[in-house]
């Protein structure tokens, strides 16, 4: 199994506060890993460390074969982060936004158009300003920005928030499709039932440390696709 994430005793600071106080985590290619934990446990910080946005100050951190923080730029080119904030410009249309971020990540026109179509913004909605879109439609536009860049490691912070059931099914389908094409997913979510059903493995964070790693119930009951059961890798 090709390692995508390898963290050992990783410490990261937010200001002077140790938001991550010694994380151990291994993720292999093709896995979907759910980060679970109470507010302030360090889930978002961990995702930002994996994206190369927050430098770890102690411990070992290797993502996609690049050591952090020294090779953060190389990591950033290969990951995609869907944060809670979104990165959309309110006065531009959904298509303008996806085109800008797609081109900013050197995506081709075909990838940009395909991304809009995949999230259901390929028709009339593509030319509507983001400020006039619903929360769910904005989330879809953000997802299209991520899809266009075709990341190897998807980092998703509360990806189901603000989505209706149809959009959640769409998101889960897209993640499975990405994994089938060789991508790896690490996500955080408070919507545990859906997120656990999606994941190969659940990692619990408390106060900036990983407390345990387990196979979600649905996985252990054999409800998941056979090719992904058993890939769970305990850190």
């Amino acid at each position: 199994m090709e390692p995508v994430v390898h963290l050992r005793a990783t410490v990261a600071l937010l200001g002077r506060f140790p938001a991550l106080a010694g994380i151990d985590l291994d993720v292999v290619r093709g896995e979907i890993v759910l980060l679970r934990g109470p507010n302030g446990a360090g889930k978002t910080t961990l995702l930002r460390v994996l994206a190369g946005l927050i430098p770890p100050v102690r411990g070992e951190a290797v993502v996609l074969g690049h050591r952090l923080p020294d090779e953060a730029r190389a990591v950033r080119r290969r990951v995609g982060l869907l944060g809670a904030d979104g990165a959309l410009f309110e006065d531009l249309t959904a298509a303008d936004n996806v085109t800008f971020w797609g081109r900013a990540c050197r995506a081709g026109e075909a990838d940009i158009t395909a991304a809009l179509d995949l999230v259901g913004l390929g028709g009339r909605l593509r030319d509507i300003r983001v400020s006039k879109l619903s929360t769910g439609q904005r989330r879809r536009a953000s997802l299209a920005c991520l899809l266009a860049r075709r990341p190897e490691l998807w980092l998703l912070d509360e990806p189901h928030a603000g989505l209706d059931n149809e959009a959640r099914d769409l998101l889960d389908g897209l993640l499975h499709q990405a994994v089938d094409q060789g991508a790896t997913v690490v996500l955080s979510s408070h919507e545990l039932d859906r997120a656990e059903a999606l994941s190969d493995r659940v990692v619990t964070l408390v106060a900036g440390t990983t407390t345990r790693s387990s196979v979600p119930p649905s996985e252990s009951e054999g409800s998941r696709t056979p090719e992904r059961t058993g890939v769970s890798h305990v850190a």
Binding site: A87, W101, R129
Partner: protein, 222 residues
């Protein structure tokens, strides 16, 4: 780098075109400042005519503060900043693109204000070559410096008030140089104005290079 600059400039200008903030707020503000100067100095018409170059450039600088603040605010949210850092865009290209977009808006404003000083102050254009070269050099200088300082204060809670406090003193040489060059052009002695125009060009180059070099660090730090 220039491809990235074109992409970012296109985005910023498209946002301005769609939001129409420059058209509906910055341009009326600039004209209002000209009108207020005219009200204040109209009884002494000769003073108004003599002060036209200085009043013109003070108005440009005030308007530039609004344009720069708008430009910086576009990339202010946490999500956009993160996305920029995760993108393949060269920081120098982002800086150049943002500065180009601000410069394009300022040039449009300067044309409008030029018409304003002709109508309101009775200014008679002369030395057009020097006027145009001065506008170009001063605009690039203001846009590059403004974009750099906009990124510097980005993320700070007091950025709205801090930006003019930091930026206006730094732009004082631009105000002086552009005013002197305009005075020489309007007085019909352009030869006296070209050295000032040269000074503006040096200032523009220095801040463009400094901005392109520092923007990546500022993007990481803020």
């Amino acid at each position: 780098m220039w491809r990235d600059a074109a992409l970012v400039a296109g985005r910023d200008l498209r946002v301005e075109a769609r939001s129409r903030v420059t058209l509906h707020q910055v341009a009326p503000f600039a004209l209002l400042v000209l009108v207020l100067f005219a009200f204040a100095l109209d009884p002494a018409r000769q003073v108004l005519e003599r002060a036209t170059p200085g009043l013109y450039w003070v108005t440009v600088l005030f308007s530039a503060l609004l344009a720069v603040a708008r430009s910086a605010a576009l990339d202010e949210s946490g999500g956009v900043r993160d996305a920029l850092r995760l993108s393949a865009l060269e920081p120098a290209g982002v800086f150049a693109g943002k500065a180009l977009a601000v410069a394009a808006e300022l040039l449009a404003l300067e044309v409008l204000l030029g018409a304003g000083v002709i109508v309101l102050y009775g200014a008679e254009p002369a030395g057009v070559g020097l006027l145009l070269a001065t506008c170009l050099a001063a605009t690039v200088a203001v846009a590059a410096t403004g974009t750099l300082y906009g990124a510097l204060v980005s993320g700070l809670r007091v950025r709205e008030t801090l930006l003019p406090l930091l930026l206006l003193p730094v732009l004082a040489p631009v105000l002086i140089g552009a005013t002197r060059a305009f005075e020489a052009a309007l007085a019909g002695v352009p030869a006296d104005g070209w050295p000032w125009c040269g000074l503006l060009a040096v200032f523009a180059i220095l801040y463009s290079v400094a901005g392109a070099a520092a923007y990546g660090t500022l993007l990481e730090g803020s």
